[in-house]
């Protein structure tokens, strides 16, 4: 069983490499990291900022950059996963593969695994490059870079899993568009929720907390922010008392929230397997 899953996983990885997906992502990432290196260099050596201001501005800017990267990671995840099943059903490639002694579940889990490995590689490369470059240029390294990477990866993996589920039923295009739209909606709902808790508007707060459970991408992104914030920033922001900033959080995700996220993965993945098993080729 593992052998067959690995066959499909390695095929998926080979496809990404052959189709120059890996090369394209690498090129774009190098350009973006280069741009941010230049920006951070300017920021940390700017004469118009006091050293205290600069100490806050660099982490703040890093959060913004990492947000952008999290967006790229999530978009790539959705773009990779949405055609994974749909395009092969449409083209007929799955007719010959599906007629072999392999279970549908093995095909699906193999694809998921292959894409997850690609995504992990990408998330690690992006986080290490960006945080490494910022550290080298401005001397700032967030408290726990590994956890940031894990949150960034989990957020992408979540969208990947969702897009794969959609891909078992919808066309590649529809699966991709719906996946990304839901990701955007979840982020917006998160902002609405944080506004709601700042200004004590219950309905808005509810939207935020419900969406955190339905599609936990924003919750995971909050985990990444939390670990990107230096303690000095935390102290300053907490003394201000207000928290309407979508790029600031004062607590990390709770363990039961993370437990729910794990359950979410299992539920959606099992759902994809069932959906694919019922799909006619």
């Amino acid at each position: 069983m593992t052998f067959r899953i690995l066959t499909i996983a390695s095929l998926t990885i080979r496809e990404a490499a052959r189709r120059r997906l890996v090369a394209a992502l690498a090129a774009i990432t190098v350009v973006m990291v280069g741009l941010s290196a230049w920006g951070f260099e300017r920021l940390s050596h700017s004469h118009s900022l006091t050293s205290g201001e600069s100490n806050l501005a660099v982490p703040q800017a890093l959060i913004l950059f990492m947000f952008m990267f999290s967006f790229v990671v999530a978009l790539s995840a959705s773009a990779m996963a949405s055609p994974a099943v749909a395009s092969e059903v449409e083209s007929g490639v799955l007719l010959t593969v599906g007629a072999r002694p392999i279970r549908r579940s093995e095909i699906l889990v193999g694809k998921w695994l292959g894409l997850a490995v690609l995504l992990a590689g990408y998330a690690i490369a992006v986080s290490a490059l960006e945080m490494g470059v910022v550290d080298a240029v401005s001397g700032y390294l967030p408290p726990s870079p590994v956890l940031i990477t894990v949150f960034l990866f989990s957020e992408g993996l979540l969208l990947l899993t969702l897009a794969l589920l959609l891909s078992t039923r919808l066309s590649s295009l529809a699966a991709g568009v719906i996946g990304i739209a839901l990701f955007g909606a979840a982020w917006l709902a998160g902002v609405v929720g944080s506004l709601g808790s700042t200004f004590n508007i219950n309905a808005m707060r509810t939207i935020g907390s419900v969406s955190r459970y339905v599609l936990p991408t924003d919750g995971l992104w909050h985990g990444a922010i939390y670990h990107l914030e230096p303690t000095s920033m935390m102290a300053e922001r907490l003394s201000e008392g207000r928290n309407a900033d979508p790029f600031f959080v004062h607590t990390g995700p709770s363990w039961y929230y993370l437990l729910w996220v794990s359950a979410w993965f299992v539920i959606v993945l099992v759902g994809s397997v069932i959906s694919f098993e019922r799909r006619e080729l």
Binding site: T7, L11, G92, V93, L95, T96, A99, P101
Partner: protein, 343 residues
């Protein structure tokens, strides 16, 4: 050079069919199955046995309670007009599509059985392969999916490439293949691992005349080696040349099944040219069934093939002269059109 490869079992198109005795398979999976005792693969059972197989897509009935049986070692032709449900039946047999009703056994196991699919080769009507792989890589992928022993891969891939005539294009990306080349590759994939049952859905739809000829040789070669072939086709001449038995499907219903002889019947049409046609002569003719004039010729519409000599003897015995006799065998195409007309 002695070749003991699994694909030598595929007839070699350019050497003609049945050249030399069958060589034992070098693929352990294949020889193991053949040497094992008892009835592990349900060898005593028919290759395909369907009972009331039914498939509905919304309101469309694609297949209406189809029952049929295909024996081991048979070349079975599955004929029918566009949309008759041939592809749907094949997909159900392979577990790619779920039947709405009925059941079927393939090689002694219920349809969709994973282990059984190891012994089935399938060339789909829509033959597409990962366009970013080359031909040899596609075949190697299927060796992996079939879980053939790794040491046999190279040989299996090389044999498949040879049978499909793609040896010199093995390193080229499949995405750049012509349609016919892709179909040839599909055949190579279907024949990998020396399957007991080969399911071909319109296998010559994209092939040139040489390719069609090769395909017939390959099918005959498979039969010589005791393999079962299930052939979906529109090409009735082709079916006539290679099939032992055929079924005709129309609108999801099997309207005729049997050997070609059974289907075409023992009745044929015969044209006779007589010197003179007088009263006694017409009496004799009428004994052999309905007849009509066509210029100088007399046409007897349905006469038993065996009784043509009797007809000639009777006319001569009655004092007539027989100048020519032309038996006109009904072709499968005529019969096919007739069957569809009758409905």
């Amino acid at each position: 050079m002695s070749q003991t490869s699994s694909a030598d079992h595929f007839a070699r198109p350019f050497n003609g069919p049945g050249t030399g005795p069958p060589v034992p398979s070098s693929v352990p999976g294949g020889s193991e199955a053949e040497s094992s005792q008892g009835d592990p693969g349900g060898r005593g059972s028919p290759a395909i046995h369907a009972l009331g197989l039914h498939k509905r897509y919304g309101k469309t009935v694609a297949v209406a309670s189809l029952s049929m049986s295909v024996g081991r070692g048979e070349v079975f032709g599955f004929l029918g007009p566009n949309g008759a449900g041939k592809t749907t039946v094949v997909k159900m047999l392979l577990g790619l599509v779920r039947p709405s009703g009925g059941e079927a056994m393939v090689l002694g196991a219920p349809i969709g059985d994973r282990e059984t699919r190891r012994r089935i080769g399938y060339l789909p009507e829509l033959f597409r392969f990962q366009p970013w792989l080359n031909a040899a890589e596609v075949l190697a992928l299927h060796c992996r999916l079939l879980e053939l022993p790794k040491r046999s891969w190279d040989q299996a891939v090389a044999d498949s490439l040879r049978v499909s005539g793609l040896t010199d294009r093995s390193g080229d990306k499949v995405g750049g293949f012509s349609k016919g080349m892709q179909q040839r590759l599909g055949l190579g994939v279907a024949l990998l691992g020396d399957p007991e049952l080969v399911v071909l859905d319109e296998p010559t739809s994209a092939l040139d005349p040489v390719g069609r000829h090769d395909m017939r040789q390959i099918i005959r070669g498979l039969r010589t080696r005791g393999k079962t072939v299930f052939l979906n086709t529109h090409l009735l001449a082709e079916a006539e040349q290679v099939c032992d038995r055929v079924a005709v499907l129309d609108k999801g219903v099997a309207i005729a099944t049997g050997t070609l002889a059974e289907l075409l019947g023992q009745h044929g049409r015969v044209r006779v040219k007589l010197g003179t046609v007088d009263g006694s002569c017409t009496k004799i003719l009428s004994k052999f069934g309905a007849w009509q004039r066509d210029g100088d010729w007399i046409i007897l519409e349905r006469i038993e093939n065996d009784s043509i000599p009797d007809l000639v003897a009777a006319i001569i015995g009655g004092g007539g002269r027989v100048e020519a006799v032309i038996p006109e065998h009904q072709s499968l195409e005529d019969r096919f059109l007739e069957l569809l007309d009758e409905r």
